[in-house]
């Protein structure tokens, strides 16, 4: 025999799963949303995406090479996923230096400072995004007007409003006047020129929401593209049903109840689902393996928590969008959820508490 026999404990076979495969599956799942954003936001989207991904990989490489001096793991794909997610969460007209700061915070502070992949308590892309949102509120909330690649520009507008932002701005007004949410939306979202004066209005219908023909962060606009990616991840068994379903159900139920109570004051749940980052959050960020709880029961609790907090922030918080904050808050609870929600043990009869 030329080679030595190998000795190891059982099992002697291994599934084809690997961290690398999981990360690349997530990456492939994000391609539809990426293409949609390239279509609606043009070259700017390509720029943001490229800078974010390259910066994330570079930061991880530099830290591993010169600070930690450990094994290089940049080829496991997790930095690419973080980069794409970070790009998905920012407007496409963001200046380059801000994106780089976001990447440094996401990878450097939220991930590598805790010891790298698997040890970060919070979703790195979201930490990066929230850091930017707090540090650069103006740049992070001035949304570019969509300009589909092959369509002629209709207006002189350079920036628009998002549905949620517009709603938040007018919430007090709605509450005190006779007007309804519906009136506002049917009047259309304002579009501004360089000087900030309203030059036109964009009227939204459900089809626009589904396809993503609206203002917003580059990755969150198209519901269909995100659903496609989610379906791929389910097929590849990268995500399980617990978090998406519980998140979706709890947030929609919450929105639905308030909409029923006062449909003139609160947005209807369909708008809540399709405008803003809820879809992206549900399928791509809340399901992040590292920062979410481990057991099925825990994941459901986590999903419900995310859903409720998202809606609470959207309704009564200071920001129009609550997805990032909700997920980060629940990330912080993940260890507690892990210790309190254990899987159902085999052969242990449930004893009713005396």
């Amino acid at each position: 025999m030329g080679t030595l026999l190998t000795i190891s404990g059982s099992p002697h076979v291994h599934s084809s799963q690997s961290v690398r495969k999981i990360m690349y599956s997530v990456f492939y799942a994000m391609i539809p949303a990426m293409l949609v954003s390239f279509y609606f936001f043009g070259l700017d989207a390509v720029r943001v995406m490229a800078i974010s991904v390259i910066a994330c990989i570079l930061v991880e490489y530099l830290i591993q090479r010169y600070v930690i001096k450990g094994d290089l793991t940049i080829n496991d794909g997790s930095a690419i996923v973080t980069g794409v997610l970070l790009a998905f969460n920012v407007p496409t007209n963001l200046p380059t230096f801000i994106i780089i700061i976001g990447a440094v915070v996401a990878i450097g502070i939220a991930k590598m400072a805790f010891g790298g992949l698997g040890k970060n308590p919070f979703n790195p892309a979201l930490v990066g995004r929230v850091f930017l949102l707090i540090s650069f509120p103006v740049q992070m909330t001035s949304w570019p007007v969509i300009k589909p690649l092959f369509a002629a520009l209709k207006t002189d507008a350079v920036s628009g409003a998002t549905l949620l932002g517009f709603y938040k701005e007018n919430f007090d007004k709605i509450a005190t006047t006779q007007e309804t949410v519906h009136d506002f939306i049917s009047a259309g979202l304002p579009q501004y020129d360089e000087l900030g004066t309203v030059v036109s209005h964009q009227v939204l219908n459900y089809q626009d929401l589904l396809l993503g023909q609206m203002g917003g962060s580059m990755g969150e606009v198209s519901a269909i593209a995100l659903l496609l990616g989610a379906a791929f991840m389910f097929y590849k068994k990268v995500i399980t049903w617990q978090i998406p379903v519980s998140y979706l159900a709890s947030s929609l139920l919450f929105a639905f109840v308030f909409w029923l109570i006062d449909p003139e004051l609160y947005l209807n749940p369909v708008y809540h689902l399709m405008a803003g980052g809820l879809m992206l959050g549900i399928f791509f960020m809340a399901t992040d393996m590292v920062s979410s709880p481990m057991s099925a029961k825990g994941q459901i609790v986590y999903g419900i928590g995310c859903g409720v907090i998202t809606m609470v922030i959207r309704f009564w918080g200071g920001y129009p969008e609550g997805v990032s904050f909700a997920i980060l808050i629940m990330n912080a609870f993940a260890p507690l959820i892990n210790t309190s929600f254990k899987p159902a043990r085999f052969g242990v009869v449930k004893v009713t508490k005396a």
């Binding site: 030595l4 026999l5 190998t6 000795i7 190891s8 404990g9």
Partner: protein
């Protein structure tokens, strides 16, 4: 524009707020002080002050080498026992123990300083690899799984549980031999490695006069043939050392020679006699060539090979 519609005079606000703040904070402070006082009275623990003094004299390594859970527990044990019989801090050695004895007003007998000794020389060269191990890098698991890469069921597994257990950085794995090495200057003989090794390869032995010592670097209890098959330098239980020892310090049990360090006078006769070089001498000056012994050796049908360079047998000094 929602400006506050209520208007106070500025001075009035300052006065009111300040007075209330001062009063309420003071009240909280007084209440807390009273509660703390009573709690402290209620839960007061009366301790022998000598425990603190003894603890201060101890090295605070908390290694557990004394057999107690940390230095505090050891100090409590000393004070409670009121004598130093059977109590020893291997880290501090005689110096610390005499300090402790002074505090306690007791006498302490001088203990010979000890060192951890690896009783295996199954390096990659001496005991060639027969299989390759993959899996959890812990000897404890590998010991339960199989006999070892060299197939010696007594030898070092080379996964370094001892190195992990050492709180004093006195052990490291030699990359070439695949065996752990004791750094003599750092070893305090706490015995952590002795406990950590699933095969009991480490033994605490006296450092010896001038740091010189002799031990059998093998614990293989197999018969000669199978032991030798796996490892060139295994003790084959031939008993030559037992015969040659003038002090009856060597015993042969289960095909394995053991040198009793209480009886050994470091004469080195057994070292020369061992046909497999399983007996190691450490820190002895090089031998003067003795022609008559060499002649005797060459008459044997299969002369023992010249002692190889054995990294394990030479001591590693921490200081340069």
């Amino acid at each position: 524009m929602k400006q506050s519609s209520v208007h106070y005079k500025k001075e009035q606000i300052v006065n009111d707020v300040m007075i209330y703040a001062v009063i309420s904070l003071s009240a909280i402070g007084v209440a807390a002080a009273v509660i703390l006082f009573f709690v402290a009275q209620k839960f007061k623990v009366i301790e022998d002050p000598r425990i603190d003094t003894v603890q201060e004299a101890l090295p605070s390594a908390n290694c557990g080498g004394c057999g107690y859970a940390g230095c505090r527990a050891f100090a409590e044990a000393i004070v409670k026992a009121g004598s130093l019989e059977g109590l020893n801090c291997p880290v501090g050695g005689n110096a610390v123990m005499s300090d402790v004895a002074k505090i306690m007003g007791l006498e302490v007998e001088e203990k010979e300083p000890m060192i951890a000794v690896l009783r295996c020389n199954g390096s990659r060269e001496n005991a060639p690899q027969k299989v390759k191990y993959e899996g959890a890098a812990t000897c404890a698991f590998a010991h339960g799984l199989y006999s070892g890469e060299s197939a010696c069921p007594y030898g070092c597994l080379g996964l370094g549980d001892c190195v992990v257990s050492c709180d004093f950085d006195a052990l490291y794995m030699d990359e070439i031999t695949g065996l752990p090495v004791v750094i003599a200057d750092k070893c305090v003989a706490c015995g952590a490695c002795v406990k950590a090794c699933p095969r009991n390869i480490f033994e605490l032995r006296p450092k010896g006069k001038k740091d010189r010592r002799i031990h059998v670097a093998c614990i293989n209890k197999e018969k000669g043939a199978p032991a030798k098959k796996n490892c060139d330098v295994a003790c084959i239980g031939c008993g030559k050392c037992v015969k040659v020892c003038p002090f009856d310090a060597i015993t042969l049990v289960n095909n394995l020679a053991y040198i009793d360090f209480e009886k050994c006078k470091l004469c080195r006769k057994c070292v020369e006699e061992c046909p497999t070089n399983a007996i190691h001498e450490i820190n002895f000056p090089p031998r003067k060539p003795k022609p008559e012994i060499k002649a005797g050796a060459s008459e044997k049908p299969s002369p023992a090979p010249e002692p190889k360079e054995m990294p394990i047998a030479t001591e590693i000094k921490a200081n340069n």
